[in-house]
């Protein structure tokens, strides 16, 4: 149930992100989800990609600071109240979330990527409430 997220340290410099997406494109790596946490001086790029190990390797080779982080992908209905219901379950069970980002595609589902202190606990809780989780194999299709 744990999926691999790519985290990259990026200085706020013009063109730096474009450099990164270029490298991924050249290596035929698809980006499924993407978010940036930004501060005044730098950003932390988080993304779900196909073949994360390869992606990490080629980025490192090109001088990027990369880390692979474990996250959980939660699939929720794409309709009013869908996210609320899921978060209610998580907060009722006192699971602390470090960060999350979400994306909805055209169909009736949305995916939320969650990084939490205890991933095992969040998986237990969500599965206990019959919430659908993203499996490793699903990643490419996200």
């Amino acid at each position: 149930m744990i999926i691999k997220q790519l985290s990259v340290f990026l200085e706020n410099k013009t063109g730096r992100l474009t450099e990164l997406t270029g490298i991924l494109a050249d290596n035929d790596i698809n980006i499924s989800a993407f978010s940036i946490a930004d501060t005044a001086d730098y950003g932390i790029l988080r993304m779900i990609v196909g073949r994360p190990e390869l992606a990490a390797e080629v980025l490192k080779k090109n001088g990027f600071t990369v880390k692979i982080t474990d996250v959980v992908g939660m699939i929720i209905p794409h309709r009013p109240g869908g996210l609320h219901k899921a978060l209610q379950i998580i907060s009722d069970n006192n699971v602390a979330i470090d960060y999350m980002y979400a994306f909805a595609s055209g169909d009736c589902k949305a995916t939320v990527v969650i990084r939490a202190e205890s991933l095992d606990k969040i998986i237990d809780v969500l599965q206990g409430h019959k919430m659908e989780l993203l499996k490793k194999g699903d990643v490419y299709q996200v």
Binding site: T39, I44, F64, T65, K67
Partner: protein
């Protein structure tokens, strides 16, 4: 091992007498041959016969870097140009370079003091010494080269840069001694790890590092990664180049070769001579130099001198590592800041390495200091709170060491320029001159 026991272990009283004789002779010589000095001495009402010994040193006028600039290029030479066999020059960070000349005897004397220095680091004719100081106008390369040849060691005159080749020759030739700037030694160490060269396969045992300030922490890091003992060598182009002073195996400061370079410590503001043990500006009178003898040259280096006899048997005084140069000293909102202080903070923290750049600017009449620090791959966290925590810790540690608040910018690893020579640590954008 002591290269020249007669001079290095001379009784202090005898040494003082020798210095007095050499000083007297030199003052007469510059009075006769250097118009600039004759005028300077006359202005102070000093005639050569007034100088009878070391007691009279304090009456003589000082020489500064500005005097050298004013007399660019050859105005302070005490011999005619045909007697000069070599020139060197120090990089002019501001304006014109400082030019120095050497006679044949000066080169001999320089080789002698470098030979003494190398012997302190345990170098013998059996060693292979890789000289990775720059060769050229800079004194580092050729200075070490001639001294090493005098010792009889096998010299690899590779000069600075081309790190891959440095590593290759360290491996293939089995170099036992490395001579370069400490920042380049650290870079070679880093590259060794990167290239996955087994440290047990290299034969390096000692390093002779100088030409820029470095810290005790940096020494330990270099020693560990290269598996060597690192020695500090001191010198400056104006006096001779490397080999003005050098650490012996006990490393209680650097022995000054006082029979050639007469040291003093002065209060930089009042110019009053300070007793041994007190912190002040280092001043040298290179009394035996033929081509360009200088009277009481102010080095701008701040340090202390200790005169107690060293365990190694040498009677030569020892100078501490300089705490900074008054010209790389930054004054930030009235506080004196040395880049070496920032370096030691970063070295003390386990999450950072000393790859940093200080950028000083002035906004609304207020000095601001930014320190760019490379984040270390292994400590990269993808959570903002962790990185911000690291930034705050660096900021707090710097503040407690420097006594001023700075802004810390985390930058990507490998983006701060690595030096092949003197490291560039400071960009001062203030227009204060």
């Amino acid at each position: 091992m002591i290269w020249n026991e007669h001079y290095e272990c001379m009784e202090r009283e005898k040494l003082l007498k020798l210095q007095g004789i050499r000083l007297k002779e030199m003052v007469k010589r510059v009075y006769d041959t250097v118009p600039y000095y004759r005028k300077k001495l006359q202005d102070k009402g000093i005639e050569p016969d007034d100088i009878k010994g070391m007691d009279d040193l304090k009456t003589l006028p000082f020489t500064t870097k500005q005097d050298l600039r004013d007399n660019y290029p050859f105005g302070l030479f005490a011999v005619p140009q045909p007697d000069i066999v070599r020139f060197h020059a120090s990089s002019g960070t501001t304006g014109k370079p400082t030019v120095v000349g050497y006679t044949h005897n000066d080169i001999q004397m320089w080789s002698e003091v470098v030979a003494r220095s190398l012997t302190m680091a345990g170098v013998t004719k059996a060693d292979i010494i890789q000289v990775a100081y720059g060769y050229g106008l800079f004194t580092g390369g050729l200075g070490l080269h001639y001294g090493a040849e005098k010792v009889g060691a096998s010299v690899v005159p590779i000069s600075g840069g081309n790190t891959k080749k440095q590593l290759q020759l360290i491996e293939d030739f089995g170099s036992t001694v490395l001579a370069c700037t400490p920042s380049y030694a650290a870079f070679i160490g880093e590259s060794l790890v990167e290239e996955k060269i087994d440290p047990n396969k290299i034969k390096l045992k000692a390093g002779v590092f100088g030409a820029e300030p470095w810290t005790q922490e940096m020494r330990m890091q270099i020693e560990q990664v290269l598996g060597i003992k690192a020695y500090d060598i001191y010198g400056l182009t104006e006096i001779i180049g490397p080999g003005v002073s050098m650490e012996c195996q006990f490393q209680h400061g650097m022995h000054i070769f006082e029979d050639h370079f007469i040291p003093e410590i002065i209060n930089p503001d009042t110019c009053e001579v300070l007793p041994y043990g007190e912190l002040g500006e280092l001043v040298f009178t290179p009394a035996t130099k033929e081509a360009m003898p200088l009277i009481r040259y102010r080095t701008r280096d701040l340090t202390r001198i200790h005169a107690e006899k060293c365990e190694c048997g040498r009677t030569l005084v020892r100078m501490e590592k300089c705490v900074g140069r008054s010209d790389d000293m930054l004054i930030i909102r009235g506080v004196n800041v040395f880049p070496s202080q920032v370096e030691s903070v970063l070295l003390e923290m386990s999450e950072t390495k000393p790859h940093y750049l200080i950028v000083v600017d002035r906004e609304n009449n207020l000095d601001i200091m930014e320190i760019q620090v490379e984040i270390e791959e292994e400590f990269f966290s993808d959570e903002v709170k962790e990185l911000e925590g690291l930034r705050q810790r660096i900021k707090a540690n710097i503040a407690s060491t420097l006594g001023i608040s700075t802004s810390i910018r985390l930058v990507e690893p490998g983006t701060i320029e690595r030096s092949m020579g003197k490291a560039k640590r400071v960009i001062d954008k203030r227009n204060l001159h």
